[in-house]
Symmetry: C2
Subunit: 238 residues, 2 copies
C-alpha cells in the first residue's frame, strides 16, 4: 500500500522587509518540497527566491487556494499527497490556516488521513498577544469587526463586556487603511479603565507596540498607523 | 537622559527532545542578553547550555517569575531595563506571556515605557490551531476547564454552544495526567457532529494530531495520551 505524503503548514514572513528572519528549517523544508498550495502564487515565488540551493522557481508546482476556491476544488489540491508526495501550504503572510482560507484544506487532509505537520513561524496575532501584557491565559480572536461606524461602536462595546465577564483578552484585525478610524471609534466606545494594545508592523524594523488604558490613549499623540498592518487587543476591568 | 533597555520575549522549546529547533536568532538573542527572568531557572539553564559561544551559565543573571511572585516584586525584575540593560523573559515552554505568568511583567514594562520585543518561536496553542483544520478566523483559548467530572461535562457543553453560536474554534489545555479522563468526558458531553482535534507532543518526534467528529472519535482506538502534553480543540455545527 502506498503511503500518503504529508501536508506541511509553512509560515511566511509578515512583510517584505521583515527584520526577523524565517526560521532556517522553514526554508529548508520549502527546499525539499515540490508541491505547494499558496494563497497567492506571486508572493510565494518571492519567498522561494530566498530558499538556499538556487532551485529554479519553475521546479515548484504551485496551486492557489483563496477565498474564491470552491469546496469541490479542494480534493485536487491534495492529489499529490494521495500519490505519496509531500505538500506545503502557505499563507499570504504568517501562519497558514489561521485567519486565512487554508483551514479548509487542512480539514480535508484529516479526512483523507494525510498527516498534518505545522511548522513554527511568525503569527502577528500571537506576537501581539505576547507583547500586549494583557491576559494570555484566556483570549479570543474575533477577526474583523464591522466596518460601519455605528456597528463597530456596538461590536466594541459588546466585546468589552465579554472581556470583563470572562476575564479574557479580545483580539481583532482591521483593514490597514481603516486603522485610524478604528482607533478613533475605540476611544469613543470603550471605558476609560479598559486597557487597549495596538501592535503595528510586527517583526518589521518599524514595529510599534504599546498598551495603556483608554483614558491614557486619549491623552497621547497617536503614531500614524495608516496602511500599516496592525492588531488591536483589549482587556476590560470587571 | 538614560535610555531604557528592552524586554525581549524569548520563546523556548516545547520539550527536551524537540524535533524542531528553536529559530537561530532566538539563541543568538539569548547569547547577547545578560539579564533573564524565567518561570523556572533550572529549565532555562538547560536551554542556555545550547547557546552558541560557550558562555559560562553563571554569566547570565537569572531571576524567577512564577504564579507565586507577588505584584510588589515585579518592579525589581525590571530594574536592569530601567538602568539601560536589555532583559529576556522566558516561559517554562513555548511563548512567554501566553498561558503562563509572564504577562504581568510585560504589562508593567509598558507602564515604564520599556520597549517590548516579541520573538518568534513555538506555541503549542497556535500550532494546534493551524494543524486542526478548525476555524482559524475566529477562535477562543479557554485555558484549563474544571477538573471535576460533572463540572467539566457542563463546561464542555457550554463551550460547544459558544462555538456554534459564534462559529468559533474553542481551545483548551489539560494537565497531561488527566488527558484520557478529559477525552472520555468530551466524548460523552459533545454532539456526534461536533469536530474535535487532539494535538499531542507538538514539535516532538512523537507528535500526534488528528481531527474528526465526535461520532468518529467514539469508533476509533485512541492513542495512549497519558502524561503527554496535549491541546484540545472543538468546533460545533450551528
Amino acid at each position: 500500500m502506498k503511503t500518503n505524503g504529508k501536508l506541511f503548514l509553512v509560515p511566511t514572513p509578515l512583510g517584505e522587509n521583515a527584520a526577523i528572519p524565517l526560521p532556517e528549517y522553514v526554508l529548508q523544508t520549502l527546499g525539499q518540497l515540490h508541491y505547494l498550495v499558496c494563497e497567492r502564487a506571486k508572493t510565494s515565488r518571492q519567498l522561494l527566491k530566498t530558499v538556499p540551493g538556487e532551485r529554479p522557481i519553475g521546479s515548484w508546482n504551485i496551486e492557489e487556494l483563496n477565498k474564491r476556491t470552491a469546496d469541490n476544488e479542494l480534493k485536487a489540491l491534495l492529489q499529490p499527497a494521495l500519490e505519496g508526495h509531500d505538500i506545503g501550504l502557505l499563507s499570504e503572510a504568517g501562519c497558514p490556516a489561521v485567519a486565512d482560507p487554508g483551514a479548509r484544506l487542512v480539514a480535508l487532509a484529516h479526512q483523507y488521513s494525510i498527516q498534518v505537520v505545522p511548522l513554527v513561524g511568525p503569527s502577528s496575532i500571537l506576537l501581539a498577544l505576547m507583547a500586549s501584557g494583557l491576559n494570555g491565559q484566556r483570549f479570543c480572536f474575533q477577526g474583523y469587526l464591522p466596518a460601519n461606524r455605528s456597528e463597530l461602536l456596538g461590536a466594541l462595546k459588546k466585546s468589552e463586556q465579554l472581556s470583563a465577564r470572562h476575564d479574557q483578552t479580545q483580539i481583532y484585525i482591521e483593514t490597514p487603511y481603516r486603522n485610524m478610524a478604528f482607533i478613533e471609534t475605540a476611544l469613543q466606545a470603550l471605558a476609560p479603565e479598559t486597557r487597549m494594545c495596538i501592535a503595528a508592523d510586527l517583526t518589521l524594523p518599524t514595529a510599534w507596540i504599546y498598551t495603556t488604558t483608554i483614558e491614557q490613549w486619549k491623552k497621547i499623540t497617536l503614531p500614524d498607523l495608516h496602511k500599516r498592518p496592525a492588531i488591536f487587543l483589549l482587556h476590560a476591568k470587571k
